[in-house]
Symmetry: C2
Subunit: 163 residues, 2 copies
Amino acid sequence: MTTPEPRARPRWLNDDEMRAWLAYRRMRLLLSAEINRDLAQDAGLSEADYDVLSNLTTTDDRRRLSELAARMQWSKSRLSHHITRMEQRGLVRREEVDGDARGSFVVLTPQGRRTIEQAAPGHVASVRRHLMDRLTPEQIRVLGEIGDVVLGPLEDRGHDPED
Amino acid sequence: MTTPEPRARPRWLNDDEMRAWLAYRRMRLLLSAEINRDLAQDAGLSEADYDVLSNLTTTDDRRRLSELAARMQWSKSRLSHHITRMEQRGLVRREEVDGDARGSFVVLTPQGRRTIEQAAPGHVASVRRHLMDRLTPEQIRVLGEIGDVVLGPLEDRGHDPED
DNA sequence: GTTCAGTTGGTGACGTGTCAACAAGTCTGC
DNA sequence: GCAGACTTGTTGACACGTCACCAACTGAAC
């Protein structure tokens, strides 16, 4: 309230910055909605489901819950809840870990594997249709750059999505 | 399942495309979390709250619910729920519309106005700190461009976020 | 061995967003 | 004026994510 300088003269966003900020926010809202819609319609999956499944396709189709959470940058709590729901739909199941009675594996079921394999081509097509095929190679490159610059500081010392 | 061509040879994402796609998704997850955290901490608002309030600051600090929903590209249902919650916190209130008994205005309360005015400088600073000040003018320009290209088709003939 | 700090994962309560259904009101054409 | 179509906004059920908390377990120091 009384801190004099920080609040004093805010440097507002200029036109380009405002345009970029709105672009980012609208994409978060509309682009995500569109891609999620496609995914739900032709595979019955949410984007979150798709992510879990695709991060689970490895040599043996299983990962420790913590490892999976860290990899996806989800909180363990979020993942635990989500796994519970996916378990009820038969897409994954939990399994005990030998040698660490606290731990649990998340394992892709055959149905889960079938589902992700059938969903993948359509999902890629959807990402292409709504995003990639509208951008020039240069724009795609810059988008990647932006991610590196913005996410670098957050992924390191950032406030982890830990519980 | 048996449609031969569309599913046949999916054009997977190349390296730059994958990098851009991951960048977009990680930003959606981490950048949003960071900016929301700041906003919650120093103004007690969610990003959604902030948006509603800032879209409500006009000459007379009021808008029709539908108009506000369209402007924000929210569904009327979402907005109605959210307004109910903000109403309970004293940030906005509903008011009847003369001449259309179905309608209702959403009106900024004095407390709502104070809140947004106090929150704005810190929020801008947060957007700068986490995003804008990390980007070159060129990157900012391209991000705006990307928004135009991607959102154009969605905002027009897109599946409206209507109820 | 025992202690104790740290880790792993789960849980319940809560705020949020979506979807489908709905009531009430308005508008159009006749 | 009135039937039928459309609009406005609300609601309830549900899926999701966060937060705070917890129980069970592990591992290192002593």
